[in-house]
């Protein structure tokens, strides 16, 4: 009954924690390590043209994003131009830059960033489209049919057919019909268009794709062209080098179909320069930017949305449960005696500001000093509260003296004794004094050493930056800690210290 409730609660908490955690790692892509980096490509397109003093309308396609690619930070630098984007008839999304009147040299810029992230853009479910009969002149038709015939003979199905067509078109010493179709100086675009026509002639649903490579930095990137053929289930990609279906994962599709990149009215055909530059950014930052753009509730409602000052506080605060959990284990499973319930965790927090070794030294010196003062004041028979107050005053003087001393001796870390450690240490001395009064000196020293030991362990568990990052990015992990703590709350086994204590009762005959 009660146990089942506890186990049920713990299981539910742990399940929620694990599920949220996995979702955020796998689907949202929050990094497990703070310093993990993600590749980001900045793409900038510059349009230069002469305007003729009339209304100017420049359109060009904007990349749609694709599975594995996410387009972020789209921006237009186009002084005076109105900017809009609209879905064009051919299925592409095109940006329209327009102005009532422009004269002379115009420089317009369009930029965006691409990242290869785990953020999956849902692929649109598309049924197989109708194959459209290509428009061909008579000589073209004859040439195309010749190539089609040759390719059909050498292929088994649609995929191998397309590969064969592309192979014929890429031939160093092309067939006569290839020359007839492509002319003397075939470009990659011409080849792909020709291949599309031949495939369409064979009754295949086909389209051309134009995109860029995101490999290296390029100041003058060129468009690559490839073919997409629908095999009845999905679109398959074919590069002009006839390497078969499939696309290198650095190819970013930009627009599809026969339409040109830019269309302009009221100006010369623009000169287009595409620059691609790669940069490495912290994954965390990238994912957050993405999440904010997509208004993903897990990120917009996360701790990252807090003001920076508050974030710093929570970075610290969220590690406290780890220390507290460790403390529960040390007290209830190991059986270490400590001051108060959570004093060791507070001491561990103050070590974060003083650094460990210096913190232990300071703790020992100050606490021993405080106790010496207490011992002396005991002889004066002071009342409880004034005596504690006197101890605290002396402790603060002691800390001030230590700070000055360490400064003069050029031990810089001594200066980092901030307000917080002071408060914690004075509280420790108060607790220790009370224990000394109630349970005697031996017990006080034993608990003092126990507290210091647990504090060091807590510090070691709480302070690694990895722990801090994990808990800040995935606060739901604390649900798992909570589940474990709840379970420990029902632990009724022996403490390790009790095994030693009751050793004499461990005989077989008792």
């Amino acid at each position: 009954m009660r146990s089942r409730h506890v186990f049920g609660l713990a299981a539910a908490l742990a399940l929620i924690g694990v599920a949220l955690f996995l979702y955020k790692v796998v689907a949202v892509g929050l990094p497990l390590k703070r310093d993990k980096m993600t590749d980001l490509w900045e793409v900038e397109v510059a349009f230069g043209f002469n305007a003729r003093g009339r209304p100017v309308r420049l359109t060009f396609p904007v990349p749609p994003g694709a599975p594995g690619f996410t387009i972020v930070n789209q921006n237009f630098v186009s002084r005076g131009y109105g900017v809009s984007t609209a879905d064009a008839l051919d299925g592409n999304r095109r940006a329209v830059l327009s102005i009532r009147k422009a004269e002379g040299r115009q420089s317009l810029y369009y930029g965006f960033a691409v990242l290869r992230g785990p953020t999956v853009v849902a692929a649109k479910a598309e049924g197989p489209p109708e194959a459209v009969a290509p428009k061909l002149s008579e000589p073209e038709r004859i040439a195309a049919e010749a190539i089609q015939l040759a390719a059909v003979a050498q292929s088994a199905d649609a995929t191998t057919f397309v590969v064969q067509v592309l192979k014929h078109l890429a031939e160093h010493r092309p067939m006569r019909s290839v020359v007839a179709l492509l002319g003397d100086r075939p470009t990659a675009l011409k080849k792909i268009n020709a291949a599309a026509k031949i495939a369409a002639l064979a009754g295949l649903p086909v389209r051309t794709v134009h995109g860029i490579s995101l490999g290296l930095d390029r100041t003058h990137a060129r468009f690559d062209h490839w073919l997409e053929v629908h095999d009845g289930k999905q679109w398959l990609s074919f590069l002009p080098d006839a390497s078969g279906p499939g696309l290198p994962d650095d190819k970013l599709a930009w627009w599809r179909g026969p339409s040109p990149f830019t269309e302009i009215s009221g100006g010369d055909q623009p000169h287009v320069t595409i620059t691609v530059s790669k940069s490495r950014n912290p994954t965390l930052q990238v994912v957050r930017t993405l999440g904010e753009q997509a208004k993903a509730p897990l990120l917009t409602w996360s701790l990252f949305s807090l003001p920076l000052q508050t974030q710093i506080v929570f970075r610290l605060l969220l590690t406290v449960p780890v220390g507290v959990f460790l403390l529960v284990i040390m007290r209830n499973v190991v059986g270490v005696k400590t001051f108060g319930t959570f004093m060791p965790v507070l001491i561990a927090l103050s070590f974060r500001e003083t650094q460990l070794v210096w913190g232990i030294a300071l703790f020992t010196v100050v606490v021993s000093g405080g106790l010496l003062v207490r011992l002396y004041l005991e002889q004066l028979k002071l009342l409880l509260v004034p005596r504690l107050a006197a101890v605290l005053i002396v402790v603060i003087l002691l800390m001030a003296a230590l700070s000055i001393l360490s400064h003069k001796l050029d031990i810089t870390s001594g200066l980092s004794v901030a307000l917080f450690p002071m408060v914690i240490m004075t509280m420790t001395i108060e607790r220790m004094s009370i224990t000394w009064d109630e349970l005697g000196g031996g017990e006080a020293i034993r608990e003092g050493i126990g507290s210091l030991l647990v504090a060091v362990l807590c510090y070691l568990a709480m302070s690694p930056p990895a722990v801090e990052h994990l808990l800040f990015a995935f606060p739901e992990l604390l649900l798992i800690v909570l589940a474990a703590t709840v379970l420990l709350g029902r632990y009724s086994g022996y403490r390790l210290a009790e095994l030693a204590r009751f050793r004499v009762l461990g005989g077989r005959n008792t």
Binding site: E438, L499, N509
Partner: protein, 319 residues
């Protein structure tokens, strides 16, 4: 290590976690703790059901009362001053007589009125109470100890601690002060505890810290084989203490007065576990036996029946 844990479990040894989780948390409601923690309230309810306690002479509740204390005590030659919320015997002053205007203490030193007033003021400010909360001072009858433990107690106050579970006395020990415990009967301060056979009331071996000793470390006399007088009465008091507080799991501390017999000194809502070492027996096994005997708790045996059960079932093995 696991083997040791398994053997302890097989012997029915009770650990702190098990004591808290299985016996104190479910059966000792927190609101009842003050009945045991506040010696004044313990005294009041004990008197109501006719359990004998040291007679209360005066209560000092506020610093204003301290000045009139001397006058209030004029009629008493000897008495004990103790904090109502004290623990571990701290803050107790035993006045054995008077020398002119001064009080004579048990260790032979003298204390004047100002010193006594200072001590009581300290006590009121909470210096001896758990957690340092404000406290009251009780002035009560000074117990004349039954001479039975004279050979195995070093000064101070030997008392009998009986752990009671749902009114069944499950385990007992005599707590004997030593030089190290400075006359106090608390085991963690260095007193020794001699187990007592529930069936017969004779002492067994003793525990010192976590080890077992046969002789008192200061007097050298063997601690075992001594018959605790009034044993049946002690068990009866222990059994009835459950109805006193309603705390299902508690310790009863009883002193033996030469003239008045057993007097309940205090009740303890969190009795320690060292009693198991003194008796070389596990508490948990006995608690489980009581649980089995109670069944669903509807039978409600009388105190006498519970004592009879305890004497029959909890006799020391191989003593």
């Amino acid at each position: 290590m696991l083997g040791l844990a398994r053997r302890l479990r097989a012997n029915g040894v009770l650990g702190i976690n098990a004591r808290n989780a299985l016996y104190m948390l479910p059966h000792n409601p927190r609101r009842l703790y003050p009945l045991a923690d506040d010696k004044l309230r313990t005294k009041e309810i004990a008197a109501k059901v006719g359990i004998k306690v040291p007679e209360l002479y005066a209560v000092v509740a506020s610093p204003g009362d301290v000045r009139s204390l001397h006058a209030a005590l004029a009629g008493y030659q000897d008495f004990v001053v103790k904090p109502a919320h004290g623990s571990g015997g701290e803050g107790i002053i035993v006045v054995t007589g008077r020398a002119g205007d001064n009080y004579r203490l048990s260790d032979g030193t003298l204390m004047d009125h100002a010193d006594m007033a200072f001590h009581v003021n300290n006590l009121l400010s909470g210096i001896y109470s758990l957690g340092g909360q404000a406290d009251k001072a009780l002035v009560e009858y000074r117990v004349r100890f039954d001479p039975v433990f004279d050979n195995i107690a070093y000064q101070g106050v030997p008392d009998v601690r009986i752990v009671v579970y749902f009114g069944y006395p499950v385990m007992a020990m005599v707590r004997l002060p030593t030089r190290a415990s400075r006359g106090r009967a608390n085991l963690h301060q260095g007193a020794i505890g001699a187990g007592v056979d529930i069936a017969t009331g004779t002492t067994l071996m003793a525990v010192l810290k976590t080890g077992i000793v046969a002789d008192h470390p200061d007097t050298g006399h063997p601690v075992s084989g001594i018959c605790v007088p009034y044993w049946q009465a002690l068990l009866d008091i222990a059994a009835r203490s459950w109805e006193l507080t309603g705390l299902a799991y508690q310790g009863v501390d009883i002193v033996l007065d030469r003239d008045l017999g057993p007097l309940v000194l205090e009740l303890n809502a969190r009795p320690g576990l060292a009693i198991q070492i003194a008796n070389r027996a596990g508490l948990r096994r006995r608690l489980e036996l009581v649980d089995k005997a109670r069944g669903d708790g509807t039978a409600a045996p009388t105190a006498a029946e519970r004592v009879a059960f305890a004497k029959a079932r909890f006799a020391a093995v191989g003593a």
